[in-house]
Each structure stands twice: as structure tokens, then as C-alpha cells.
């Protein structure tokens, strides 16, 4: 049978075959592929993200006080108290415990991300797929609308939307949905763009043309051939969008369009309240919620970036050949036993 050695240093970007169920899961597959620094970045990102999710899940156990708690048995906490044993990160100008609000804030952040991304992902994919595949006037109109919204400052749009949805002030779920929905509308064009671009690229692939030649119906082609191939980049967009959602939420909170402190803890809101503290040298009310945002976004972005690199053959780092002598010895041994005649067999095996 015919064989093809992997051509000079450019192995196929496709996943290695038959690496089992675990090997096919999106993130784990990339983890296996990655090497060196890229693996370091991915692992660091995954670790931070995992901590973020765990803190959100166990917030009630970790946080010493409630997010809206102003006093305990010993009396009121007091405003702007510096870090102490009772309040390891101090208290805010409103008299809340900073540490507790940072911990509870993870819950709000996770909820908003999940709701926002889940909403936008479905609508965005559907629109992108249909618009990219069918083309025509619908496509042109959607592209112009999508581009217009995409090019517009998403924070401003989110502000407008949160006014619309909640009138500007809100309860926990009201606030979360307001933030999430405003982020959703802003992100739909992003998913739409990516999926549409992919759909158009895949539409021209010979395997889609061959499905057309066979007489497959448009829905069959879209869902059997295009959809799954077009959504390969989704884990990347998903993570990058999550971090954007977090930043937008914080921005909304900072401008006073977040969630009331009595409804839930929200880092952007706390930073807004810390604005005047900083001028008088009170650092703890700003530092900790800010760091929480940075860490959460950093973790998610590291995962997204690493996935992006691994998916892009141009950006992927490949294993470098090991130290000369070691490899040489190993391969010489292999090649002396396998001459040109038996090499093809070895090669086919490698492919399988």
C-alpha cells in the first residue's frame, strides 16, 4: 500500500487518531498536544479557572460573612476598617466585609458568564450557519447589522440594554439577567461572525460540494457537514467571551449599572464605591475586588489563548527534537531493523 511520511516538519493539524474518549474531549485533547510553555500556560489557566469555579461553588462555606452583612454579634463592622483578624481584607465604605464580598462575587460572575454565553452561543451559531450557508439578501442584511453592532463599543450597548432591561437598578436575578442579556446581545454578532466565516469557508470545501453533487438537502448539509466542522473553534470563543463577559459586567457595575449590594456581591460595584477611598490612601477596598477580576479573567484568557494557539497550526509549538545523541541512537536502532522494504508497514501502523 502507499505510504506518505509526514512532510517536512508540518504534521497534519488534525487530531491524533484513536486516542480514546478522554483524548477527544476538547480541552483534554489540547492538553495532551501541548508542550513546553504552551502547556504551562494552559495548565496555569486551567488551575486558576478551577479555583475560581470552586470558590464560586463553595462561597457559602468560605466566606465568613454574608455579602450584605453589616454587623455580627460583636456589633457593626464599621466603615473603611483596615485589614484585621476579624476582617482580613478590611471593610468597605458601606461597612461590608471586603473578603466576604470578594468570595461571594465569584458566584455572581459565574452566573452571568454562564447565562450570557449560553444565550449568545445558540443564537449566534444558528444565525451564522444559516446566513453563511444560504447567503443572499438575508446574509447581506445580517452582515451589515452584525458588523455595525460588532464595531460599536460593547460597553455602551450593554449600558443601553441594562437600562432597557432593568431600568438601571436591580435585584439579584434581575441584575444577573440584565447584565447577562446585555452581554448576550453584544456577543451574538461575535459568534455570528466567526461561525459565518467558518461556514463560508467550509461551504467551498470539496466535501460539501460533493454532498451537494449527491443531492443532499440544504438542512442535511448544514447540520451533518457544516455545523460540526464550523464549531471546532467554539471552545476558544467560549473562553475568550467569558472573560469579556466578566469585564463587561465589571464595567457595568463600575458605572453604577450593576447589582445592588444588598442583592448580590459584584466586584465592579465595589470598585466604583472604592473610587473615592483611593484618593485618601485606603487601598484595601479597591485592591482585592480588582485582583479578583484580574485573576478570573487571566485564568480564563490563558485557557482561551492556549486553545487558540493549539488550534492554529501556525501558532502551535511543536516538540523540538531531543538532544542529538539520544534521538540518533534510538532512530538508528529503529532504522537498521526496518529497511525501506519494511518501512511502509511501520508507517501505516503509525497512521492507524
Amino acid at each position: 500500500m502507499t505510504t506518505e511520511l509526514v512532510p517536512s516538519g508540518h504534521p497534519t493539524a488534525l487530531p491524533p487518531a484513536n486516542s480514546g474518549f478522554w483524548g477527544r474531549l476538547p480541552v483534554l485533547k489540547q492538553l495532551r498536544q501541548s508542550v513546553g510553555l504552551q502547556r504551562g500556560m494552559l495548565v496555569a489557566g486551567l488551575a486558576i479557572t478551577a479555583v475560581f469555579l470552586l470558590v464560586a461553588a463553595f462561597a457559602p462555606l468560605i466566606a465568613p460573612y454574608g455579602f450584605a452583612q453589616l454587623r455580627d454579634d460583636a456589633g457593626p463592622f464599621g466603615a473603611q476598617q483596615p485589614p484585621s483578624a476579624a476582617h482580613i481584607m478590611g471593610t468597605t465604605v458601606g461597612g461590608y466585609d471586603v473578603f466576604s464580598r470578594v468570595i461571594w462575587g465569584t458566584q455572581t460572575a459565574v452566573l452571568v458568564i454562564v447565562v450570557a454565553v449560553v444565550f449568545s452561543i445558540f443564537i449566534g451559531i444558528l444565525l451564522g450557519l444559516v446566513s453563511g450557508y444560504l447567503g443572499g439578501w438575508l446574509d447581506r442584511v445580517l452582515v451589515v447589522i452584525g458588523d455595525a453592532v460588532y464595531a460599536f463599543p460593547s460597553l455602551l450597548l450593554a449600558i443601553v440594554l441594562s437600562i432597557v432591561i432593568s431600568g438601571g437598578q436591580s435585584s439579584l436575578w434581575g441584575g444577573i439577567f440584565a447584565a447577562a442579556l446585555s452581554i448576550t446581545v453584544v456577543f451574538i454578532p461575535q459568534y455570528y461572525r466567526v461561525i459565518r466565516a467558518e461556514t463560508i469557508r467550509i461551504k467551498a470545501e470539496p466535501y460539501v460540494e460533493s454532498a451537494k453533487m449527491l443531492g443532499a438537502s440544504a438542512p442535511r448539509i448544514m447540520f451533518r457537514h457544516v455545523l460540526r466542522n464550523a464549531t471546532r473553534t467554539l471552545p476558544i470563543i467560549f473562553t475568550l467571551n467569558s472573560s469579556e463577559a466578566l469585564l463587561t459586567l465589571a464595567g457595568l457595575g463600575f458605572l453604577g449599572f450593576g447589582i445592588e449590594p444588598t442583592a448580590a456581591a459584584e466586584w465592579g460595584y465595589d470598585l466604583n464605591k472604592a473610587l473615592s477611598d483611593v484618593t485618601s490612601g485606603i487601598w484595601w477596598t479597591a485592591l482585592y475586588p480588582g485582583l479578583a477580576i484580574v485573576l478570573a479573567v487571566l485564568g480564563i484568557t490563558l485557557v482561551g489563548e492556549s486553545l487558540n494557539d493549539l488550534a492554529d497550526p501556525r501558532l502551535r509549538t511543536r516538540r523540538r527534537a531531543k538532544v542529538r545523541t539520544a534521538t540518533a541512537a534510538a532512530t538508528t536502532a529503529a532504522s537498521t531493523t526496518a529497511g525501506p522494504a519494511s518501512a511502509p508497514a511501520a508507517n501505516t501502523e503509525e497512521k492507524a
Binding site: L5, P7, A17, A321, E350
Partner: protein, 573 residues
């Protein structure tokens, strides 16, 4: 010393996802002053890697052992490329050795003028004034045959044709007059008529400048045309080294022999054509006996015209212009042409992927003008197809069995891919693939295997018409030979009519009963293989045939003279 390059015991390994792959394994060879050494091999033979090692251009994933001794241009000393520091390497590149790339359209930077890019080589090796660099760029452009070099020097790459771009790439490699040029598949991306011109240019380099050339190629015709000596590589090893006449006359290694046998030659197909014609005559009589019309063609095009609309009110582009032909039942029509001749467009129109804009095209009696997918769909079951790129014509997420079952499911012959598995297994057997391959994913198959699977899908519904668009052009010669054989076998067995599209005259001649030659959207000649290839009447066909290098150095030398006279002829008129 007389050797420009002396490679001793060179081994190169690459680190890949699947572990370390040894691409070159203990290769030794020499290149003498002023000679053309061809390194021949199929994909994965390590020929490109070997050649790139002469310039130290290997990627960082490579580990190199052995010695590559390169003589300086004046012959005063030699350098071992492998042990040079990066800055020393830089010194050598461009002055002692330079490179010509396969794809001229990607080897030129799109945002700089060609003059600037040629001058970059000069600037990299010492200070030159702007005027001086420009003068030298113009001079070298003139030498490689770019007309009006004073004007063209300020143009950007996209303003040149493919052949001209390759001349510019050669000019850029030549500007410092290196003693050696490494040409990596320099004509593979070019049309055959342009290839002949570039080969002439390279020959002139050797004869007039005394430049040694390392020619990397998979094309035996190119080797026969240009090479003085030949090194045959297989799986990273040198299997044979000989001067060109000896190699073609009496190959020593069995692999070389196989390789030479696999190269299609014009005239090989005549016997089969005659056999098939006889068989068809029998079939016609049989059909006539039961009262069926013997003459109703499967495909009939008359004054077929296909325009691509222009965008933003620009003038459109006429891809196919007033073409008429017909394909009788069971007949194979070979459609030959160079890039942009409209051959693929015709194939796509037959399959209903491209709308025709004028004339008439009927497929199984169905008029394609005013095409409607809904009415055409039932007919699709009777049209099979095979695409050019076997790597891309399968959905990477479906198994081979699922992909082959697609036509059966779509046209209601099976409920689900699982339901169709028995039929799929039969089909895989018909194309000589093991049944177990049905469970594999496309990327787990080699190119040849994928193209077999593609054939299996094409014939799944036993169509009476098969459209094959360059089905073997992405394959190695030896693989191509076997796929072509398979195609012929299937055609004999299933008796389908076929439109076989190719740029390669020899391949078409092997399979086709009749050959149609397209040139710039027009059909310039049509007839049996014997008519078209032995007695071409159209000047373009004559040039096309003469440009095709034959894998025989002696015969090729004679043909070259013939081509020169045709070219002089056409220039004279």
C-alpha cells in the same frame, strides 16, 4: 576542487506529535561544478529536506547529523553548513548558494516591488546604493527574460503572470551569482507550456553562467529534460545514483524501475481504447436489438457558454465560450487544458454546481439551462463524481463508511449509514480497500487510499455518468498509476460514461476514448487519442504536446528541438 557540494552521511530527524520521524537517513551525494543534479522521489522521500539542508533552511524541529560541505563561489574554501553559526550561514546564503521555490506566487512578498525584493539580496551582503541596486535588479530581470525590465522593476508581484513570477524568483536567487542554485520543484505549480520555458531558462543558467543546479522534482519528464545526473531517493535513503542517460536506459534499483514504469506516456492507452471501442460496439448492437436508442448521448453540449458575473458592476468573466461536445453511453471523454481553460467549470456545470448562461447542455436529456435543483435531484443518483483533492473531499468528522454511504442514504437506498454497511463493504472491496478501512477517519488514510474511497463513493449508486476532476493530480506517480488502473477497471466493469478532466495529456490518453482540448474557454480540438495526439491540427495543441517532457532524455532532446521550431514558428506568424 570540482565539487560545489559534498554531502556525507546526512541524517535529518523531525520531532512530530507521533514521535521522532527520520526524514533523511545517511544520504551522501555530490554536486559538480556547472552540472544539474536532479534529486527525484515521491512525497516523503526526503528530497526537499536534503536540498534545504544545503542552505541550512530546516525548521527548528529538525535535528541534523553528518556533513554538508559547500564550496564558496570562487572555490577558494568550503564551509560545513551544519556547523556554521547563524551569522556565517547568512553570509553563505545568497552568495554561495541560493534557492528557487515551488510556488512562485507565495515566494514573492506581495507588498514590496519585485525590484526591492531582488535588491534585498544585494543589501544583505554589503552596502549598495539605491541606484546601483536598481540597476542590478533591472539587469538581472533582463537576463531572466522579463520584457521591459526598466518599467517592470517597480511593479508588484500580483502584476505578473505565474511564469513571469517564477522568472523573478530565479532572478532574485541569481542576483549575487551564486555557484549553486537549489530549485525545489520549480515547475510543479506551472502549466506545461510555461514549464518548458522555465526549464529552458534553468538550462541557460547552467550553460551560460556555469551555475550548478540541484533540481528537486517528482516529474521524470523534467528530469529527462534538464538533468545531467540523477539521485533517486526513497523513504529517506538514496537508492540509486547515475547519469541521466544510464538511469533511464537501464535502471538498477527495483524502485527506480517501478517509478519509471509508473510514469504515463503518450500512446500507452491506444490498445485499451481500441478494446473499449469494440466492447461498446457490441453493447450498442445489444441495445439496438432490444429497441433502445443506441445513439442518445449521456451528455450533449452545444454552443455552451458559462459566464461568471462581475462584482460591483465590473465586467464578468467568460469561463467557457461556445463549446460543443457529446459523450456517448459508456464512453470516456478526456478534457485537457491548462489552468484557466474552463475545464473544471464544465465539470461543475455537468454536476449542477455551476449554472450555465448560454447555449445548451443536456445531461441524461435534462436541459441545464434554467436549472432547477428540485427537478434535477432525482437525476443526481445517476451521476457520480471524484474530486481532485482526496484530502478535502471527505468530511473529516465522518468515517469512510459513513461517507461512502451518504449517496445511498440521500437517495433512499438505505435508511441509515449502518443499514448501508453491507453495500459499503462491497464497494470498498471493489476499489481494493480492506473492509476495516470503513471504520477509519479520512485523515487516517493515505492520499491514494482516500482517492479509492472517493471512487467507491462515486460509483455507490452505479451511475451511468462519472465526472472525475483531476482525480490523480494530487497523488504520487506510483500511486497515480494504480488509481488510474483501478479507474479503468471500474469503468470496464460498470460501463459508465465518464468526463475525465486533467491537465496531463499522458494521463488523459491512458484512459480516454476521445480527447477534447480546451484553451481559454474554447474547445480548440477534439477527436480520438490517435487523432489529437499524433496529428494535432490546432497550433495550441501542437505546442501543448511538444511542451510535455517525455521521460526519456534522448527522445526529449529531440522533442526540445521540435518545440523550439514550433515556438519560432508561432512567433514568426
Amino acid at each position: 576542487m570540482n565539487d560545489v557540494v559534498e554531502i556525507t552521511d546526512l541524517s535529518i530527524s523531525f520531532a512530530t506529535d507521533g514521535g521522532t520521524v527520520r526524514a533523511v537517513d545517511g544520504v551522501s551525494l555530490t554536486v559538480r561544478k556547472g552540472e544539474v543534479l536532479a534529486i527525484v522521489g515521491e512525497s516523503g522521500s526526503g528530497k526537499s529536506v536534503t536540498a534545504k539542508s544545503i542552505l541550512g533552511l530546516l525548521p527548528e524541529t529538525a535535528t541534523t547529523e553528518g556533513a554538508v560541505l559547500l564550496a564558496s563561489r570562487d572555490g577558494s574554501h568550503t564551509n560545513d553548513i551544519i556547523s556554521l553559526s547563524p551569522s556565517q550561514l547568512r553570509e553563505v546564503r545568497g552568495t554561495d548558494v541560493s534557492m528557487v521555490f515551488q510556488e512562485p506566487s507565495t515566494a514573492l512578498n506581495p507588498v514590496f516591488t519585485v525590484g526591492w525584493q531582488i535588491a534585498e539580496g544585494l543589501r544583505a551582503h554589503g552596502k549598495v546604493s539605491k541606484a546601483e541596486a536598481r540597476r542590478e535588479a533591472i539587469e538581472i530581470l533582463r537576463k531572466v527574460g522579463i520584457p521591459e525590465p526598466e518599467v517592470r522593476v517597480d511593479h508588484y508581484p500580483h502584476q505578473f503572470s505565474g511564469g513571469q513570477k517564477q522568472r523573478i524568483v530565479i532572478a532574485a536567487a541569481l542576483v549575487l551569482n551564486p555557484g549553486l542554485i537549489v530549485a525545489d520543484e520549480p515547475t510543479t505549480a506551472l502549466d506545461v507550456t510555461v514549464q518548458a520555458e522555465i526549464l529552458d531558462l534553468l538550462r541557460r543558467l547552467r550553460d551560460e553562467f556555469g551555475t550548478a543546479i540541484v533540481l528537486i522534482t517528482h516529474n521524470m519528464g523534467v528530469v529527462a529534460d534538464l538533468a545531467d545526473r540523477v539521485v533517486v531517493m526513497y523513504q529517506g535513503l538514496v537508492v540509486e545514483e547515475a547519469d541521466v542517460k544510464t538511469l533511464f536506459a537501464s535502471p538498477q534499483d527495483p524502485y527506480t524501475e517501478r517509478l519509471l514504469d509508473a510514469v504515463p506516456r503518450i500512446g500507452q492507452g491506444r490498445v485499451h481504447t481500441a478494446e473499449r471501442e469494440a466492447a461498446r460496439a457490441v453493447a450498442r448492437e445489444a441495445r439496438a436489438a432490444v429497441g433502445e436508442s443506441a445513439l442518445a448521448p449521456v451528455v450533449e453540449a452545444s454552443h455552451l457558454t458559462i459566464d461568471y458575473p462581475g462584482r460591483f458592476g465590473r465586467k464578468g468573466f467568460r469561463a467557457v465560450d461556445d463549446v460543443s461536445f457529446r459523450i456517448a453511453p459508456g464512453e470516456v471523454l478526456g478534457l485537457v487544458g491548462e489552468s484557466g481553460s474552463g475545464k473544471t467549470t464544465i465539470g461543475r456545470a455537468l454536476g449542477g454546481l455551476t449554472r450555465i448562461t448560454g447555449g445548451s447542455l443536456t445531461v441524461h436529456g435534462f436541459e441545464m439551462l434554467g436549472f432547477s435543483e428540485r427537478r434535477f435531484k432525482p437525476l443526481r443518483a445517476d451521476i457520480g463524481f471524484v474530486f481532485q483533492d482526496p484530502a478535502a473531499s471527505f468530511n473529516p468528522l465522518l468515517t469512510i463508511a459513513d461517507a461512502v454511504a451518504e449517496p445511498l442514504v440521500i437517495h433512499g437506498r438505505a435508511e441509515s449509514p449502518r443499514d448501508a454497511r453491507r453495500r459499503v463493504d462491497e464497494l470498498l472491496e471493489a476499489v481494493q480497500l480492506p473492509r476495516s478501512f470503513g471504520d477509519r477517519f479520512p485523515h487516517e488514510l493515505s492520499g491514494g487510499q482516500r482517492q479509492r474511497a472517493s471512487l467507491a463513493r462515486g460509483i455507490a449508486l452505479e451511475p451511468s455518468l462519472l465526472i472525475a476532476d483531476e482525480p490523480t493530480s494530487a497523488l504520487d506517480v506510483s500511486v497515480q498509476a494504480r488509481v488510474l488502473e483501478l479507474f479503468a477497471e471500474l469503468q470496464r466493469e460498470f460501463g459508465f460514461a465518464a468526463l475525465f478532466i486533467s491537465h496531463d495529456l499522458a494521463v488523459v490518453d491512458l484512459l480516454a476514448d476521445r480527447i477534447a482540448v480546451l484553451y481559454r474557454g474554447r474547445l480548440v480540438e477534439e477527436g480520438t487519442g490517435a487523432e489529437v495526439l499524433d496529428h494535432p491540427s490546432d497550433p495550441y495543441t501542437r505546442r501543448l504536446i511538444a511542451s510535455l517532457p517525455v521521460p526519456d532524455p534522448v527522445e526529449q532532446a529531440a522533442r526540445r528541438a521540435e518545440l523550439a521550431s514550433i515556438q519560432a514558428d508561432s512567433r514568426g506568424r
